[in-house]
Symmetry: C2
Subunit: 485 residues, 2 copies
């Protein structure tokens, strides 16, 4: 429960179409100057934004906690991660990442071997519409990874604030506006619109001057936005991260040697942030045997012992209660945890067991339930395990515990995991996504709309850049290397 009774709730402002048009227009006005900005200017702004977040920590964390119930500890850590991320992109910009070129010298003679000099540079796409998520009020919101990577790439950003944390969004945006002013960056480089209605987002993504859309949210919301974007006269890329059920495969060697520790770690991961993570583990796949039986009992007990907090919004709580009730009442499911969901208590972690056949036959058992819920599927063979993974399909993550020995069965499971996932873990839990160069956060559909791109990590920047080949460029242009004009 939060200590923030002193904070007055802020109503969600519905931006008018004129306000949205003005924000996009300001972004468009800023686009040329920001595209032409050098590394020092871009990294300067990114670092200034990181410092501004840190300087405002106390007030921002209190605001975030009052609106999200995620707890001051977690939110302060998330603020750290967000500042770290802004600085990581600043470092990448300083190292020349958005200005990197490929150079092919001319080769004398006739084609196909003979060729002119070619210098491949990258140019920013233009104004990016960025949809903030509810569940990471710092890291996937106003100054989160999408904003940081777009700014690093040289693109202005128009944020669509999430209506679950309007007060925090306003506060962070105000800090951003001040940072932009202090850095002398063009004022339209970060804009914000808000609204709880569908119309605000639709008007934004249909605006002809928006060049790309980044989104983190629900499957339903993402599909609806994609449909609007498909109806545009000029197509633009839609980078949507739509969540998944993130299977955990616990192979026998792992359970035999470290079952108890894994049960504890998994229970904590399922309950973390009240299960409100895109990477929250929603299904556990185990082979049928006595070790497994013990592990599942340990897991259920550890889940019963978890403390949770209020969910982000009452609507999410209602969805969770409905999803869990559907699972628990399913004729082929057997509940393993003891706790009951009651309106006067925070959500209680929920675990049910389902057989392979039932899981394969009932697609509704594979749907994401946003909150602390997990399904255990028991399999009798590697082949059945592979079928279960294939039925789950596109996932942000798959975790495979106990894959230390290279044998045919393990390789087959890993192959099945790679086929459906953007990230495959062999230790630890999927919640928590490191911000680094090798990170990839985006799996095959329906986990994300563009599985070849990532929304976390340094490669996220490349979503907002487009290559241009300069053929036989004059000396003054070639001398700029990848620096924009």
């Amino acid at each position: 429960m939060s200590d923030n009774e002193g904070i007055t709730p802020v109503p969600v402002q519905e931006s008018t179409f004129a306000q949205i048009d003005a924000a996009v227009n300001a972004a468009l006005q800023a686009a040329e100057q920001w595209a032409a900005s050098g590394g020092a200017q871009r990294s300067g702004l990114l670092r200034e934004l990181a410092s501004a977040l840190e300087a405002g920590r106390e007030r921002l964390v209190a605001l975030a906690d009052a609106e999200s119930h995620l707890g001051a500890g977690r939110l302060s850590g998330e603020l750290d991660r967000t500042a770290y991320q802004l600085r990581a992109f600043a470092d990448a910009v300083d190292a020349g990442e958005p200005y990197a070129v490929i150079y092919d010298p001319a080769v004398a003679g006739a084609p196909p071997a003979g060729r002119p000099r070619l210098l491949r540079v990258a140019v920013p796409l233009g104004p990016v519409a960025m949809f903030a998520a509810s569940n990471f009020p710092f890291a996937f919101s106003v100054l989160g990874g999408d904003t940081a990577s777009a700014l690093a790439a040289g693109c202005p950003v128009v944020v669509k604030a999430h209506p679950a944390h309007p007060g925090l969004s306003n506060a962070v945006f105000d800090l951003a506006v001040e940072a932009v002013r202090r850095c002398g960056a063009p004022p339209g480089v970060i804009g914000m619109v808000s609204g709880a209605s569908r119309e605000v987002g639709v008007h934004l993504v249909r605006h002809p001057d928006i060049a790309a859309v980044a989104f983190t949210g629900s499957h339903r919301g993402g599909v609806a936005l994609q449909k609007e974007i498909n109806a545009r006269e000029t197509p633009i890329p839609f980078f949507g991260e739509l969540g998944s059920i993130n299977p955990i495969v616990a192979l026998p060697p792992a359970l035999e040697t470290q079952g108890e520790a894994l049960a504890t770690a998994l229970a904590a991961s399922i309950a973390q942030g009240c299960g409100q993570f895109c990477t929250s583990p929603g299904v556990l796949i185990v082979h049928r045997n006595a070790t497994t039986d013990r592990f599942i009992r340990q897991l259920a007990e550890a889940m019963d012992a978890q403390n949770t907090h209020a969910m982000l919004t009452p609507a999410m709580r209602a969805n969770f209660d409905e999803g869990v009730a559907r699972l628990n009442l399913h004729p082929e499911a057997r509940r393993l945890t003891a706790g009951e969901q009651t309106p006067d208590r925070h959500p209680v972690p929920n675990l049910v067991a389902i057989g392979t056949e039932a899981f394969l036959r009932h697609p509704e058992l594979r749907e994401e339930i946003f909150g602390p819920s997990c399904v255990v599927v028991t399999v009798d063979s590697t082949q059945a395990l592979q079928q279960v993974l294939a039925a789950i399909g596109g996932s942000l993550t798959v975790t495979v515990w106990g894959a230390d020995n290279e044998d045919a069965d393990t390789a087959a499971v890993v192959r099945s995991a790679i086929r459906i996932a953007g990230r495959v873990l062999f230790a630890g839990v999927p919640t928590g996504v490191a911000v680094t160069r090798a990170q990839h956060h985006g799996g095959p559909w329906p986990a994300s709309t563009q599985p070849q791109t990532t929304s976390v990590g340094l490669m996220a920047m490349h979503r907002f850049l487009r290559p241009v080949a300069l053929q036989a460029p004059p000396g003054w242009l070639a001398a700029r290397r990848g620096m924009p004009l």
Copy 2:
């Protein structure tokens, strides 16, 4: 005219839905084995395909000429380019391009700085549907760049043969089947379907086991396919190259010093292959002055002196005649070339002059006319020139002659060119696209559907790969580096 009277025309076979399903199913059966293939196996097949084309040169070029009228010299050169391209991808595979990894070692400590070990690898998407183009019967057809890059990436290919050259498609496919057999590659790694009806292509791109679509063709055809792909239950990427009018900007310094040579080169580029190139120059932008007047006269004379040949299909000829008649009869256009289009002669190069205002006011004057046609737009200022480029919009190429001196006006023009193009040339003509690492063939919409990707050059391979981050991989898996399982 061709020397191929001995060649019997081959009718276009309409693949049945069962045949299409069988081809996709064979590709799916081959997918796992081909994805797991090492560099030697992939490059071995690519080199075998190149050699097979060369060994069959005499017969293939005769077949291609009989069906396309493009001439034996050009077609033999195109076969060379196609073999060169297959070997260039083989070299890239041997150098490890599809197996390249990004590695981030673990960092001790708490997040965000602390992190697990991450190895980012790339995995093939799966079966690719590849739509052959009419205008490059070798280089953008059965064994063209899309097929070569997909095979290099580890993806099987189902070719949709172009109905304009069915005999050649069958002959090349037969050689490919033999090469696949000789190499011991899985039989389904290259499949082919054919048909002149819309239904064949639609059934192919809607097949649930097709993972990506590559297409080179008309705007209308591309838009129709995109619509079908958008209606799939599972979205897949559509890499469509839809052509453009490829503006040439001739700045005064170029015309003053080398006007006559440029007029000759441009006339040849406009008439080359009877204007049937995606990169054929369809609009020339010049400043109004006496030097320009002389240049345009020289260009018109050089165009009148060009020899052409029959177009690829009677339908294309009809479209060309209609487009040219619309231009020539336009009340604000003035015809500069002398030749008339008559049914008993090959197409005659056509040049018309249009003022800036009229060009900006009439979108129909900016539409691509596939064939030897060009429009001259005369401008009075750099700003007007920029407006003309902006009105043209997304283009595969923009050529800027006379940009050797860095001054504000030149920089402004180059900036406008970069904004709308995938490739900006500063010398030479846009027809002819070098196959190299720095190449980028794909401009902003409507030139291509995914402007961040290229259909020519080594980076084309990355359209068919998807990153996967392996977190804390076990030793045996990490030791494979990027080698697929």
